[in-house]
């Protein structure tokens, strides 16, 4: 039973790590997004170089029942290329900002990947047979002279080595003036939204030459701009409902049935500021970097710089729960502002929904610095800090919890705040939709952890 507390706490063990061992990180290899598909069999990563790498889980080996299947490279393809906007004399980065999988409808898999400006629908299909025995073509493809053909035969399919092909099926371009930060597929599986800093557009997966603008917060005079959209997501069950978060720490819930342009929210979620914590950095740290609905859609989770907040959709004036990710950084905000770390956008995710207990979102996971990542159990209110590091890479050895010493005397095994490596940030994490398997991305490596099965 997931996260039931007591003796049933999850014990995380290292499983695999993917990526270069070098300390010298190639910029193109920086992982920018991580996402499991709906079954959990496939795990996709996007990087700064515009590439998508998909890993596939091995079928469980009956003889090796103590561990779940390993993830191995299934397909790699170049999703986006760098572009140059001649009108603005600016480069358009090929970095993949988000990947979202479509639910599987047939043998092929489909995913949406996006960079700052363009969203693409990719079809990933397997080919393990090929036709042989053409009449007019030789095996190597050369055409035969028809006059040499004396008999006819029917070509047959013969097995071949498995080939995984990725092909772009749709390209959704030219709809965003600003940088796309989110894509979210609707529960109708026909439409999806894409959000940039100032606008949100609604698309139909089949139609690339049109999109509907459903949110526009661009002021008439750009000098008046004080707030931007930071993330957006469709409700998991209600296909007319979506939320978007802002740089001022607010979340707006909108209903597309209310009007064509959802500039007026149905609900506004905002926590009043704590006056005792007020500083020049208050607004920056309140900026929401990620928003995720719970499986049931009853709750949503937001991530700001220092905390994770759980909101009940029925209560707008404050979150129902708040978890501090790295409160020890509050006294360091000026330095973090100076080195730009305060603008890091951490994501957050829910545990997968347990087979037995459907739709219970009980555990929250999010990243931090020094390659630490954190989990919060909503039931027990316990939290844990773990580290993604090659030093802990003994499979089936339970990861040791880490502790940061905020001030005062540092105990053995604790790490002091000033020793944290702020270059090692975990911004992207993902939880298998059904099992206790998590994928944690450091700068250029992908770690996979599993819970220790008995």
């Amino acid at each position: 039973f997931l996260g039931a507390g007591g003796g049933n706490d999850i014990q995380w063990c290292f499983s695999q790590v993917k990526g270069a061992v070098d300390d010298d990180v190639a910029e193109a290899d920086i992982i920018s997004t991580v996402e499991f598909n709906h079954s959990g069999e496939l795990l996709a990563t996007g990087d700064k170089g515009g590439r998508v790498v998909i890993f596939q889980q091995e079928q469980e080996n009956k003889t090796q029942s103590h561990s779940r299947g390993e993830y191995n490279v299934y397909s790699t393809f170049q999703s986006h290329e760098p572009e140059f906007d001649y009108l603005k004399s600016l480069e358009i980065e090929e970095k993949i900002n988000k990947i979202r999988w479509l639910p599987q409808k047939n043998a092929a898999q489909f995913l949406l990947s996006t960079n700052d400006k363009t969203i693409k629908l990719w079809k990933i299909s397997e080919r393990d047979k090929r036709p042989e025995g053409y009449n007019l073509k030789e095996e190597d493809g050369r055409y035969r002279d028809p006059t040499t053909v004396t008999t006819l035969r029917v070509p047959v399919f013969r097995p071949m080595d498995l080939m995984v092909e990725a092909s772009p099926r749709r390209i959704f371009a030219n709809a965003h003036t600003y940088h796309i930060n989110s894509i979210s597929i609707n529960s109708d599986y026909e439409t999806y939204l894409s959000a940039d800093d100032l606008r949100i557009n609604l698309w139909h997966l089949e139609i690339t030459d049109r999109s509907f603008n459903i949110v526009d917060i661009k002021p008439a005079n750009m000098e008046e701009l004080t707030e931007v959209i930071t993330a957006a997501e469709f409700h998991p069950n209600s296909c007319s409902t979506f939320v978007y978060s802002s740089s001022k720490g607010t979340i707006r819930l909108c209903d597309m049935r209310a009007s064509a342009l959802c500039d007026r929210h149905s609900k506004l979620f905002e926590e009043p500021e704590d006056p005792s914590n007020r500083s020049f950095f208050s607004e920056i740290i309140s900026s929401i970097s990620d928003v995720k609905f719970s499986h049931s859609g009853r709750y949503m989770m937001t991530r700001d710089y220092l905390s994770v907040k759980i909101w009940d959709l029925n209560m707008e004036n404050r979150p129902v729960e708040t978890y501090q990710v790295h409160e020890y950084l509050r006294s360091k905000l000026c330095s973090l502002y100076e080195n730009d770390c305060i603008f890091d956008k951490f994501e957050c995710c829910w545990n997968g929904s347990d087979r037995q207990v459907e739709f219970f979102s009980l555990i929250v996971m999010t990243g931090s610095y020094n390659n630490f990542f954190r989990m919060f159990d909503r039931n027990t209110k316990r939290d844990i800090t773990l580290e993604a590091s090659r030093e802990n890479n003994k499979p089936r050895t339970v990861l040791k919890p880490r502790k940061v010493c905020a001030s005062g005397k540092r105990k053995k095994d604790e790490i002091s705040v000033d020793s944290l490596d702020f270059n090692k940030k975990i911004l992207h994490t993902a939880w298998h939709p059904k099992e206790n398997i998590i994928a944690v991305a450091t700068t250029n490596n992908l770690y996979i952890f599993q819970d220790k099965m008995n």
Binding site: L90, I92, T230, C334, C341
Partner: protein, 249 residues
């Protein structure tokens, strides 16, 4: 604000103060901390001038911070002080000193909290080179940094706005630098000890690889000014005029 060369010059004849300096606990005044934050923010906004479109969210957040500081300083009546130390050289030096902060912290880094400073310095230096070569003429009517921001954000007319961005940047520099050296000497003759303290704090902080000076900056628990306004007192009548131009909104 705490230009090293000028500071030394300033304290040359004031040995009697040095004794007392040793005893002073190095906590920079709220005004200085706030000023430092403002400088840092302005530099960050200028550095958004990159090859790839700047991150709009980051720019907006920094601009909002600048606006907050300006509003508070205007309320306090301390906005005049922004120009106490500016001269032809000093304003650039003021920005340089922020850069030194960052550079030395990178040198100290050893896997500490410092990310891409290479980019930071490189862009900053290229901006410096560019602006330093501009000739400073009369102080024209300068829009506030708000103009800077809007020009940066206005993506629809990028070419034109890139020009505008550079122009408003130049205007800010023009204004800041339109001071004769003489008055600058006067200004610095009255400079407060706390300048020196902040500088010591900062350099001391960097060598300790602690997040030092910002610890004091973290004590911004309330927006109200807790330190006295007299820290940077100087006869700024001739600068008030320029300041008004800067603040004009």
């Amino acid at each position: 604000m705490f230009v090293r060369g000028l500071k030394r010059k300033c304290f040359d004849g004031e040995e009697d103060i040095e004794g007392t300096l040793a005893g002073i606990k190095a906590i920079p005044s709220y005004n200085l901390q706030r000023q430092s934050l403002l400088d840092m923010s302005l530099v960050k906004l200028q550095l958004c001038h990159m090859l790839v479109e700047p991150n709009l969210c980051r720019s907006v957040l920094i601009a909002n911070t600048v606006r907050q500081i300006q509003e508070e300083m205007t309320q306090d009546g301390t906005w005049q002080m922004i120009n106490t130390q500016s001269t032809g050289q000093a304003s650039l030096d003021r920005l340089v000193s922020t850069d030194i902060l960052c550079r030395s912290s990178r040198d100290q880094a050893e896997g500490k909290h410092v990310p891409a400073y290479g980019t930071f310095n490189k862009d900053f230096e290229s901006d410096q080179a560019q602006d330093g070569s501009e000739t400073m003429s009369t102080a024209s009517s300068v829009q506030t940094p708000r103009n800077l921001q809007s020009n940066m954000w206005e993506m629809e007319n990028p070419q034109e706005n890139k020009g505008n961005f550079q122009k408003s940047l130049d205007q800010i520099f023009e204004t800041l630098e339109n001071k004769s050296p003489n008055s600058v000497e006067d200004l610095f003759s009255e400079v407060d000890n706390s300048y020196y303290d902040l500088d010591t704090m900062l350099t001391g902080m960097m060598s300790n690889t602690k997040m030092g000076h910002c610890d004091s900056l973290e004590t911004f628990s309330s927006p109200k000014n807790t330190a006295s306004n007299s820290n940077c007192k100087s006869d700024l009548n001739d600068l008030d005029h320029i300041v008004e131009i800067l603040v004009e909104s």
